[in-house]
């Protein structure tokens, strides 16, 4: 599958992307994920102030036919959520990297090393489905 994987982002094996800017990380789901899910119709993300744990589920994204958990790339506190995308989750289908979900204030910068680079994620997508 041809898919868009920006070089400036980090990735998880559960198909979330993370944009690291200082101690704030913006989180979304990848183009590969939105394409696999199909028409996204529902999004559930935590409120501002919620504590996330790296590798743990933090929300849900639903297409017409399926429910998928969202996994946090980092540990930290939610500082902003994108209510625009929460209200119109189909925006993820049209622009997976523009339609971010939440911003998290990271607790432990060391965790970021565990995330995949664009090349590693590309490799991961090629070898798994």
């Amino acid at each position: 599958m041809a898919t868009n994987i920006p070089q400036n982002l980090k990735y998880t094996k559960e198909h979330e992307w993370a944009l690291v800017e200082g101690d704030t990380v913006t989180i979304g789901i990848t183009d590969f994920a939105q394409s696999a899910l199909g028409d996204i119709v529902f999004l559930e993300v935590p409120d501002v102030g919620s504590e996330l744990k790296a590798g743990a589920t933090f929300g849900v994204v639903e297409s017409i036919k399926s429910v998928s958990d969202l996994y946090s790339p980092v540990t930290g506190e939610v500082v902003t959520k994108n209510s625009d995308v929460e209200g119109s989750p189909e925006k993820i289908n049209s622009d997976a990297y523009g339609a971010w979900l939440i911003k998290v204030k990271v607790k432990d910068q060391n965790e970021l090393k565990n995330l995949l680079t664009a090349d590693q994620y590309q490799e991961f997508c090629n070898t798994s489905h």
Partner: protein
């Protein structure tokens, strides 16, 4: 296990379909978008490859009598040329399958059954065949099946099929496409006007290719499931299964207790009902199969048997099986979605009114 492929497999691959295992078959679940495909059927026309479904033929003097004995709905009383939807039940009234009986001619009946139940149904029917003067054959491997569904279905098909008169909804005729014989029924699983076309593999492939040139939208099983759920048609394995009887699934209209006899009549005569199948809509949250259904006190009263996001209503819709003695008097229902209760509205009519005639 090796998956079966329909004779349209290459066509699906060419169209870029996402193929998934379903009832032992590798079937197209979607081509482009579930939403676009479902809306094409509601507003224009779409075609489904449903060749995985089973076709049994019953031929001979007692054909109608045999089938009437097998199923709960009235086959003997229906005129030749009619299609009849019916459950197939055991002696104890539980549902083996739901199917459509097509009365092709006097002494010639086609039964179309669910793909996942072909062997189970055939074995069962075969075991009841003795004493009836008719043949009973499984021709599932000889037939492919297309469902052309949507308001434009008739105008697409009219120039293609020989002598296509304006056959009524739930009727069947034997027709032809080019030099191929086809069985053409005005039936479907979407609530829209449309046709189901049974024919040889070559004929169905030619018809499919022709339809692709006529801007018919190829539709996968995912959109088919959304469409049937919007009009509240039951699906075997969800609303119907080996444990429930037709009354439990709201299908009392298909049980004709006035018939002299049929398998399951004695058990079904007192109308034993353990469950009530209800229709729910949710303004927030999407109900899914298996989610618990709660009353106003947050007590579990039932379970969602099918749930999805309706593409027409743009909200969650569900069919749910409620324990008959727990149906709340106040008609307040909630659906437990990931341990959170979401308010549901009980509706009496199907979520969407299809346009079938």
């Amino acid at each position: 296990m090796t998956l079966f492929r329909t004779h349209l497999y290459e066509e699906h691959v060419k169209l870029g379909a996402k193929l998934v295992p379903f009832a032992g078959w590798e079937m197209p679940v979607q081509y482009t978008s579930v939403k676009d495909e479902a809306l094409a059927v509601r507003n224009d026309v779409g075609v489904f490859d449903v060749s995985h479904m089973g076709e049994f033929f019953v031929e001979g003097k007692d054909a109608e009598k045999f089938v009437d004995h097998l199923v709960t709905n009235d086959i003997l009383g229906a005129p030749v040329g009619k299609a009849v939807y019916s459950p197939l039940c055991r002696e104890n009234g539980t549902v083996i399958d739901d199917l459509i009986v097509y009365k092709l001619a006097s002494g010639r009946v086609l039964i179309c059954v669910n793909a996942s139940n072909i062997d189970k149904d055939f074995q069962w029917m075969k075991s009841k065949h003795q004493g009836f003067d008719c043949s009973f054959t499984n021709k599932s491997n000889e037939y492919s099946l297309l469902a052309l569904q949507g308001p434009r279905a008739f105008s697409v098909l009219k120039p293609l099929l020989k002598d296509l008169s304006d056959i009524e909804y739930y009727s069947v005729v034997e027709s032809a496409y080019e030099n191929h014989k086809v069985i053409l029924a005005r039936t479907g699983y979407t609530g829209e006007d449309g046709f189901e076309i049974f024919a040889s593999h070559d004929c169905i492939k030619a018809l499919w290719q022709k339809m692709m040139t006529l801007k018919v939208t190829p539709c996968g099983l995912a959109s088919r499931d959304v469409l049937r759920l919007e009009v509240c048609y039951p699906l075997y394995g969800h609303e119907l299964n080996d444990e429930v009887n037709p009354f439990d699934a709201g299908l009392s209209w298909t049980v004709k207790l006035s018939k002299t006899n049929f398998i399951g009549k004695a058990a079904l005569a007192p109308k034993p009902t353990r469950f009530k199948l209800v229709k729910l809509t949710l303004d927030k949250g999407i109900p899914r199969e298996g989610y618990p259904v709660l009353n106003s006190k947050n007590e579990t009263v039932g379970i969602v048997t099918s749930g999805t996001m309706s593409v027409v209503l743009n909200k969650g819709v569900a069919l749910a099986r409620i324990d008959i003695d727990k149906v709340p008097q106040d008609e307040v229902f909630l659906v437990d979605i990931r341990q959170k209760p979401y308010a549901a509205q009980l509706v009496k009519k199907p979520f969407v009114t299809g346009g079938h005639k």
